[in-house]
């Protein structure tokens, strides 16, 4: 407490000063090197903004990954110093203390969700791919687009600073349930709130832009039902972001008010918050859970819908077949998004919520299995009897589909209240979420990087390195996360610094050590991706071919890479649906959307 008082001035002002410094720096760069500034920093070009999102998210993934390895290290060798953490975060115990364990898992999840997955899917690929796919010259609002990237920077700064304030960071879990998040001393939690707040603004700016672009700026002939599924999924995701994120914003604002200004929204009776005497506020802790999950459950779909869209595009391309059931794919996207709004309570079966509500949420949650199954079977039917080209993005898409099945099936178990009561807060949940968010989403992101890299940078990535990266990652992934199902169903609790304190968990140490070793290999494999990514940017094989994958969608109708601001050197026009592969009437096995039909010179071929 006295610590808090003494350092109050420093921690609350320093991040703001750093942000101010960043603004001054940007202004200076604008003066000194205006071309560099308008091309690489405040660029209105959606392609550059997509790359900015891509690179900064990949860099944050290093932080998130390091924290994950810190967590794994503690589970394998409890109480020992994590190598490098003393130097990295300035923790004298090197992450061995339980409170540092809490900070590690909290910040791992927060960084991975807010700074890696969402910006990668929506910010990076949404930005880069959507205007190209729908045949627009840019997003509807380039300024808003740049703003949505640069609003991430205050968030980056707040989150980064949260490690270096008294208290060493936010440790209430990424869900930040009160009362812990209210009583947590030190400013880490406050900075966490500020960071999330800015991420929310960034997401909303992006969502407004995507929806307007997709609704208003499609090229001639690009009807809604001729849009590739990536664009569809970004449209649906943006609607989710638009409706759900502000609710998190208001919840976080109330949490900040509670912490900093002494209101009592989430302060339960008889709790002491930041040097205050006991309050009779009688605020509602479960209220936070409702508001938080009202955002964060749709956020789960924000984390996976764009991945589904990208995988559909890549699978159709790899299998040289139209996506099986294109319209059902669209309708199931919409259904998942809508159902995503009415199932958040399945995170709260154990919260003391009204049991009748629990039953409602259980049924709604199980209903999500229907559109999800539609998608899964459509992917399988797309793959079925196809002449698959085994490129790396194909492998990644296959990994997506199979990991989605595993993660989705365990999700159905968790949707059932009785089962969830059993496995709530165990490693079974951790296994489920990682099968979806790593196994599905991140593999699709890997695939998307390999797939769209030539269009982004005009060079291709090194293939042997890419295959190595995929195979090592895939195998290490299974060894890291599959055993979590087992230890979880045997009762190993998540968010426990030293689970072996409990007698019944002591036998699980060897399995955990296996998982940790696999996780270390998994982490190391990402170095291959990083090297390949940055090395290929400058020294990869030059690719000037417009359509290296012989794909059908509109983005392959631009020069590689698209030159300058404004995308198309030909007037984009869509003549057909997005997946015209293997058309028996056509000369080649694919007919791109942008290829004019043979008789197009005559306006009405069958008029007479």
């Amino acid at each position: 407490m006295h610590l808090l008082e003494a350092t109050d001035f420093n921690v609350t002002t320093t991040p703001w000063l750093v942000i101010l410094g960043l603004c001054v720096l940007m202004a200076l760069v604008r003066l000194i090197a205006p071309k560099f500034y308008s091309h690489y920093l405040w660029s209105g070009d959606h392609k550059m903004i997509g790359k900015q999102f891509l690179v900064s998210s990949l860099l944050w993934a290093v932080v998130g990954g390091a924290l994950a390895l810190g967590v794994r290290w503690q589970l394998a060798w409890p109480g020992s110093e994590v190598p490098g953490f003393k130097a990295l975060f300035g923790w004298p115990d090197g992450g061995a203390a339980p409170e540092h364990y809490n900070i590690m898992f909290t910040m791992h999840a927060s960084v991975m969700i807010f700074f890696v997955i969402i910006p990668l899917l929506v910010g990076a690929f949404g930005n880069f791919v959507v205007p190209l796919q729908i045949g627009a010259q840019d997003m509807a609002f380039p300024f808003l687009n740049a703003l949505s990237y640069w609003l991430m920077w205050p968030a980056f700064i707040f989150m980064a600073f949260s490690f270096y304030v008294p208290g060493d960071g936010a440790g209430a879990g990424w869900t930040s349930y009160p009362p812990l998040s209210e009583t947590m001393l030190g400013d880490g939690q406050t900075l966490w709130c500020m960071g999330v707040w800015f991420v929310g603004w960034s997401s909303i700016c992006g969502a407004v832009n995507y929806i307007t672009t997709i609704v208003k700026m499609r090229a001639k002939g690009m009807t809604l039902f001729r849009m590739p599924l990536t664009s569809w999924s970004i449209l649906i995701t943006s609607i989710l972001v638009l409706c759900a994120t502000p609710v998190l914003g208001s919840a976080v604002t109330m949490l900040l008010m509670d912490r900093e200004f002494g209101s009592s929204f989430f302060v339960p009776a008889a709790r002491v918050v930041s040097d205050a005497a006991q309050a009779t506020g009688g605020g509602q802790v479960i209220l936070w859970q409702h508001l938080f999950w009202f955002y964060s459950h749709p956020a789960v779909y924000i984390l996976v819908l764009p991945a589904m869209g990208m995988v559909s595009d890549m699978l159709a391309n790899a299998c040289r077949k139209p996506v099986f059931g294109y319209r059902p794919m669209v309708y199931s996207l919409i259904a998942i998004a809508f159902l995503g709004f009415v199932v958040w309570g399945h995170h709260m079966f154990q919260s003391g919520m009204n049991p009748a509500l629990g039953r409602t949420f259980m049924i709604a949650t199980m209903m999500i299995a229907l559109p999800s199954a539609v998608k899964t079977f459509n992917w399988l039917a797309t793959i079925y009897r196809s002449q698959m080209q085994l490129e790396v993005h194909t492998l990644c898409s296959l990994a997506f589909v199979s990991m989605w099945i595993i993660g989705g099936l365990s999700g159905i178990f968790m949707a059932a209240t009785p089962v969830d009561i059993q496995i709530h807060d165990t490693y079974a949940i951790v296994a489920h979420i990682h099968y979806i968010v790593f196994g599905s989403t991140l593999f699709s992101v890997f695939g998307a990087i390999y797939y769209w890299y030539p269009k982004m940078f005009g060079r291709t990535m090194n293939k042997p390195l890419a295959y190595t990266h995929f195979i090592v990652t895939f195998v290490a992934f299974q060894f890291t996360f599959f055993p979590m199902h087992v230890v979880g169903s045997r009762g190993m609790l998540r968010r426990t610094a030293d689970p072996y304190f409990y007698g019944n968990l002591q036998g699980m140490l060897p399995v955990n050590q296996l998982m940790t070793v696999a996780a270390l290999i998994l982490g190391a494999a990402q170095l291959v991706l990083a090297i390949n990514f940055f090395w290929s940017m400058f020294a990869g094989k030059v690719c000037t071919e417009r359509n290296p994958w012989k794909a059908t969608t509109m983005e392959w109708n631009t020069p590689t890479p698209p030159v300058g601001h404004g995308n198309f050197d030909v007037i984009p026009e869509a003549h057909r649906g997005p997946y015209e592969y293997a058309d028996p009437d056509a000369a080649e096995d694919f007919t791109p959307q942008f290829q004019a039909p043979a008789g197009s010179a005559k306006p009405v071929p069958h008029a007479h």
Binding site: V215, I239, L242, C243, A244, V247, Q284, I286, L287, H290, F294, F341, V342, G345, M353, N354, A356, L357
Partner: protein, 98 residues
């Protein structure tokens, strides 16, 4: 274009929605709202219901006339309904659970 601006002032003036009538209605409803708590002191339930109904009417008039939803493309009305759907889901759960 300025000749067009002045060509048919009367015709364009007639084309506007009845803003002043809506304004008068809004003011009248506000007066009723302020009076309700003073008059209906005994029955809080009736007062609350009445106040909610009046507010909904006011909101509808603002949205349809001042925000032009009545005259605009249907998709904008659809967009405007999105928060209503979310709000009803959220309040349904919150009220059931409080």
């Amino acid at each position: 274009m300025s000749h067009q601006d002045h060509a048919h002032p009367a015709a364009t003036a007639h084309a506007h929605p009845p803003y002043l009538k809506v304004f008068a209605l809004l003011v009248a409803l506000t007066v009723v709202e302020v009076v309700v708590p003073f008059v209906l002191t005994g029955s809080r339930g009736i007062a609350a219901t009445l106040l909610i109904v009046i507010s909904v009417v006011k909101i509808l008039f603002i949205a349809r006339y001042f925000m032009h939803l009545k005259f605009d493309a249907k998709i904008l009305g659809l967009v405007a309904c999105a928060p209503l759907v979310c709000a009803s889901i959220l309040s349904f759960v919150l009220l059931w659970d409080h």
